[in-house]
Structure formats: C-alpha cells, structure tokens
Subunit: 314 residues, 2 copies
C-alpha cells in the first residue's frame, strides 16, 4: 500500500493544472464577524463538474498507460466522482463506465449522462456498487478508478490545498469534509508536508461518523446505512485513506444536521455562492466549536456545489 | 432635469470606488455553448448588500452637503435599494429612514433592520410608499434618495458598466434589467458615452412591461399592479429614466416568466452563483432571441443575489 507524500501531490498538480480550473479563494467579512475568526474558502464548487473530484479523476486518468486508456475506466460513485471521471475520460478520448446508486440526485445523474458516460444503476449500498463495477471490469477490461481508495485520486484531491496555501501561506488551521477520506487524505498530506504546525481537521456529519469512530478507536469501522443531508459524505474510510488520516490529521469533528443546514444557508445568503450540504460541514465545525477557532486564520475546503434544487434541506 | 453624461459616471466611480466591491466578471463555457455566443456576467450579486444598488446609494450619500448629512436620508424601496441606502448611510454615520412595502421578502427586511435603519412599513403600492416617505421628510428634514429617479443614483449604477468595459473592451452588446430604469439609464449612458457602436438592450418581464410600452409608444406609461417573479422589477420608469433610456437604449426586450425561471436555474446550476429572479431576465433575453445574439460578445449585468430561499419560484 503506497502512501502519498508531498512530492506526489506537487507532481499531480503539474500534471493536471492545464485541465482544471484554478478556483478562487473567497472571503466574507460578515462570516468573519459572526464567527470571530478569519475564514478563507477554497471554492471547489467552481471546479469543473462543480466539485473537487475533477482533480483526482483527472490525475488518475492522466496517470494511466496507453494500453489501459484503450480499455476505458469504470467507477461507482454517489455522483460527483462519477461526473468527474466521465468528463476527465471524455477530455482524453477514453470510454467511461459509471455505476450509480438509483437514488443519486437527478442533477448528478444528468451531469454524468451529459458527459457521454455509460451508466449502470444499482441499489444504494456499497456492496451493490462494488459488485456492479466488478462485473463491468470483467466484461470490458476497464480500469477501476475508485472514488477515494486510489493513490492517484488522493494526490489529485490534495492539489486544492496546494493552491490554497499558494494564496494564503499563513493559515493556522485547514478543515476539509470527510466521507471516504480522499479529500482529507490529500489535504492533510499536502498541508503537513509543507508545515507541520498547521492543524488539519476533518469535518464529518454526526449521522455518518465512521471516520470519527475509526480515528478515535484506532480500528477501521464502516458506517451502516448512514442518513444525512450531506449526501457526498455517506461513504466510509478505506484502509488507504484511514492510514493517511491517522498519520496526518489532528482531529475529526462531527457536526449535527441542523448545523449543516444552517451553515449551508449562511453561505448561500451571505456569500451568494451555491454549495452542497457536504461542503457546509466545514463551517458547521467552526460554528459548533467556536472556542477552538477564535481569532484564527482558517482555510475551509468547499468541496462542491451540485445541489438538487427541488430537494433542498431547508 | 439634469441628464447624466459619461463624465458624471466616471466622477461617481472615483467617488465610490473605495467603498464598493469591484465585482468579478464571470464566464461559463457551458452557457456559451448552449446559447452559441460569448457571455460576460458582471456579478453585482457579489456587491455589498448583494446588489448593484449599493453603488447608487453610496454615490448619493457621498454627494450630500454636510448640512444634509446631519438630517439623514429617507427612501422607499422594494428591498435592495433600502438595504443599500441603510448601509451607505451607516458607513457615513448618517441616519436612514426606510419605507418598505409590507410584502417585501423577509431576507430584505432583515438586511435593512440589520444595518440599523428605522423602518416604516406601508401598503405595496407606489402611492402608499411615496406618501409615507413624504411624511418622514416633513417630520425630520431628511433628504429623499429615490431608488432611481435621482441623478446621483443613476450615475452610481452606471459604474458597474465602467468596470465591465475595463475588463472586456470589445463587447458588442450589453444587456441590463429594467424596472424603474436607474441601472439601465446608468448602463446606457456609460456604454454609449464610450462607444456608440455597442448596442444596449433593456431586459424586462413581459408581465411588468411598462418600459417596453413607454419606449415603443414614446409616452411614459406606468405598470398597474404587475405580477412577476422578478420582484426587483415591479416599479415603473420615471420621467428622468425614461428620458435617458429613450436617448441611449437600442431596444427593450420582454421575457416570459418561465424563461426567467429557467434562466435563473441555469445560472444557479451551471455557474454555482446565487442570483435573484430579476437578474435572470438578461439571460432570458438571450434565450428568447437567439438570432440576435449568435456568435456575439455580450455583457450581462447581474443585478443582485437577494433571494428568499423559502419562496423559490421553482
């Protein structure tokens, strides 16, 4: 099991930078006043396909051999990784096979279909997704690009923090959401590689707190049918992401559903940007633990902006 | 009746530029492909108070005499101008009295109250608003800062186009929404002052088409109880804005309610920014008249992003 290092993320950024958007780092005076700290939002909702996942998917596709590229890629995903891989594949002339849970948000299904991928729907369980993906691999020889249990994907996700630190070098804390752990793994590897004194926190819904439990107990533990409005964070850590997170992350902080919804609304209202519920967890961590953050300079990774507007949680 | 000229808008920009945000000009490859033209969105939803109105209000306040400032300002507004004047007044240590229709969106009422203004609610008619404002003027000696029938306000609103042309000089068309006409007056004065060959269009809801009727007939005509989701465009032109628009605007194009809603959703989904229904009219003009815009470089003034999320039109 190869663990990503700082240099791997730097190499990933060189590889993908001409394919991705360099997303803005936004500030909000109103939110700074409300929470008594300085917040820097790395806005991956403005990334291609509306999520940081395009970074990892692009890095994975660009790292494939010519022979592998000929046979295409396959993945299973609740949505953003699926769209990301579909577009990354299309931009490289590669065929993409996508397994999606049948209850994925409509906007995410449409995006994947729009990028020309071949979609297979399955039951919304990890087992059903993995089975369907394996079947496609056997039939086509396509390479599985796992949404987070993948070295190249993690390295790609870490490049958001590389750009964040390039713009704001003196951050004291960086917070990223944690679902399967790809983003938090990449984020923490990069941040700690640059400066060990910057704290890295994971933000997780209390209702899907497998990372918190695994991190606290030291034993990798999966979520069982988690129910949260943060639909990008339903997945559980893998051995790879758990290893990276144990090594590099300072704390996992869980947040309540009403905090997630309140912070999502706050960002919509005050910053006029659309973020998905999963992204609101990072601000919810600040809201629920103000003593930890008073007067600090904090980087928040806004993971995406793909929302089904007909199913808003407020 | 003094008509604004190019130089007045340039002077307004010098006066207000340290008080306002220089808002971004955004692009969307997906929308360009969808409508087969090049769109440049001047994003006043990111302006202070979430709307271009802060430009005009700030210019009006900064243009007052010291004696006038002592007695404060008063206005009547469906919301964005009210919040804008309240904040502009507070930043200059001036008292603000605001008359608002009792059916104004909650988010706009809260914003005005949050800026410390004294609010008087009235019936949602122009007559009721004007009466209430007059009463306050008589009692306090405050200066009326009309939302659009005001020279300094119009000059302030024109500064959004000044910044737009500084970033994208070779636009062929600029489209701004038209309600009372302050934004369209300022926009068209600036654009035609710089380059007469750039076309300037007004975007107006078909259900509140007083500007279209006035412009076409040559006779200033008010709307009677207009009903549109574009709640910032319910007001009718004044003599001043009608004069400026007749002189400088090439066309007023009306758009249907379902186009406004569809284009609002398109911008939310594809650009991940929050815009209010009034702002979607400019894209709706492009959608309903694609023959006019094929292959063209078009500037769109996105007027604001203050939306009541519990009363979305979709």
């Amino acid at each position: 099991m190869r663990i990503p290092e700082l240099e791997d993320i730097q190499a990933a950024h060189s590889r993908i930078k001409s394919f991705i958007h360099r997303t803005p780092v936004m500030k909000s005076q109103q939110l700074n006043e409300l929470f008594n700290c300085e917040l820097f939002f790395k806005c991956e909702n403005f990334q291609k396909v509306g999520a940081f996942k395009f970074r990892g998917a692009t890095n994975a596709v660009l790292s494939m051999s010519p022979e592998e590229k000929l046979r295409g890629v396959v993945t299973h995903s609740s949505g953003n990784h699926a769209a990301a891989l579909a577009l990354a594949a299309r931009l490289n002339g590669i065929k993409a096979f996508i397994v999606m849970p049948e209850n994925a948000p409509v906007v995410k299904k449409n995006a994947v279909a729009g990028y020309g991928a071949e979609i297979t729907f399955c039951k919304p369980t990890l087992q059903a997704r993995e089975d369907a993906a394996r079947l496609i691999m056997e039939k086509t020889g396509a390479t599985l690009i796992h949404p987070y249990d993948n070295f190249n994907v993690i390295c790609g996700q870490g490049t958001a923090s590389l750009e964040l630190l390039q713009e704001k070098v003196d951050l004291e804390i960086v917070i990223a959401p944690v679902g399967g752990g790809g983003l938090l793994s990449g984020t923490s590897t990069y941040i700690k590689g640059i400066n060990k004194s910057i704290q890295v926190f994971g933000a997780e819904p209390l209702n899907a707190n497998d990372a918190f439990i695994s991190f606290t107990s030291g034993i990798l533990t999966a979520s069982v049918n988690p129910i949260t409005c943060a639909d990008g964070l339903l997945t559980s850590l893998s051995e790879l992401t758990f290893s990276v997170i144990r090594k590099n992350v300072d704390k996992i902080l869980t947040v309540k559903e009403d905090s997630i919804i309140e912070c999502m609304l706050l960002i919509w209202e005050r910053m006029k940007i659309i973020i998905e519920p999963s992204s609101a967890t990072v601000l919810a961590v600040v809201k629920e633990n103000q003593g930890l953050f008073n007067g600090k300079k904090i980087g928040l990774i806004i993971s995406g902006g793909n929302v089904d507007f007909r199913k808003l949680p407020f």
